[in-house]
Assembly symmetry: C2
Homo-oligomer: 232 residues x 2
């Protein structure tokens, strides 16, 4: 969709994971006129293809600055995404239980890093593809978390105490996965560039049984479109 | 001061920089019976001797688990501590201006990482040596920042939404540098193990002109003791 450079608007920092949601959130922010600076964090996740996807997506969006930060959260352990704990398959998605794919404090860490870079860039806007509808119940995807982080940002930083108001844009937070996919398709996004699976096979193919695969598959089914990542 | 192991109390995560303040804060928490897990973040600071000091201090405190995390904040730039910007010398310490040694969102990032590890360890307590009296005016050293982070922590995490209450212990936040040093000396701390200078010489000696050196030197002078780091 890169039909114009993105360095001519109000600057924003977007957390770009390489997944479907952050790609869509970034595209929405771009449509709204933001100049995007993308931040990707390689945190020891087992699905490292995410990083390659983030690069592809950043290119597609015409993003000028893309910073990748290494952060070995695997040193802490405690999550199926960063340690030897097995990724659950065919889990009941209706349960209120937070699954072991939860990465402790992940979005707090990610937003902190985005905030640091935003302050250096003199940007007031952070963009994040969190979603609190078709998700795994992670606490740091909910509106109350985003609100608490905004309040923190304005107290924590030189820019904040000087009167700058940080805002976190979460254009997808109340959308279903199907609505997100429809929105992205209407913006011309190519979801074949993305990666969602928590536990891909050695050939990189989605497992189709982890939460992330199943939410994605149900979303495409509801839209009535074929996921370009799946065999036709 | 390591006269007993520290793995027998209520677990806490302490941010240990290798400086005088975090060493003292850790010692206070230890005296209060906490079992300390130390986290040191190598963030690209120019005073890398801090890391060596953190190891020495951790040994001295008898800390069982000490995790060091690499995080290249220098990729963002924007601070004299992580980039080629010069560290100011002989600055007016009474001015309200926040100096260029400010590292954007540093303590937000550090507390986020401490929170992540605390959640894995099932610890509710974070310990930090921040100080809002003899300091350089950094916004993320003030009580209102700490309060905002506590609120965030309880919204951001699985543990928090399950009812665990995270607390950040900041035993030094309202002490003068002289009071901090007196407290540490009364606890038997060896400040010769620490490192404070923002811009040490090639031989590792303190510059004695950056904010950090001058606040330290004034503190020792007020106590009437010789800083073991200075030539006798």
């Amino acid at each position: 969709m890169a039909d114009r450079p993105t360095d001519d608007g109000v600057p924003a920092v977007v957390l770009l994971s390489g997944g479907l949601d952050s790609y869509t959130a970034a595209a929405v922010a771009r449509r709204e006129g933001y100049s995007l600076n993308a931040l990707t964090i390689s945190y020891g996740q087992r699905h490292r293809q995410e990083i390659e996807s983030a690069r592809r997506v950043a290119r597609d969006l015409g993003i000028v600055r893309h910073v990748e930060i290494d952060l070995a959260l695997s040193q802490f352990g405690g999550s199926a995404l960063t340690s030897a704990i097995e990724v659950p398959k065919d889990r009941d998605l209706e349960t209120a239980e937070i699954p072991v794919t939860y990465v402790p404090a992940r979005n707090t860490i990610f937003l902190s890093l985005a905030l640091a870079w935003a302050e250096v860039l003199d940007a007031s806007t952070l963009v994040m593809g969190v979603n609190a509808i078709d998700y795994s119940g992670y606490p740091d995807c909910r509106p109350e978390f985003i609100d608490a982080f905004e309040r923190l940002a304005n107290t924590a930083t030189r820019a904040g105490v000087s009167g700058q108001r940080f805002r976190i844009l979460t254009p997808l937070i109340q959308l279903t996965k199907a609505q997100i996919i429809s929105l992205g398709l209407s913006l011309g996004l190519d979801y074949g560039l993305t990666h969602s699976c928590y536990d891909p096979g050695p050939d990189g193919r989605p497992c189709r049984r982890c939460d992330s695969c199943r939410l994605r598959e149900a979303g495409f089914a509801a839209v009535g479109t074929i996921d370009p990542l799946l065999p036709g």
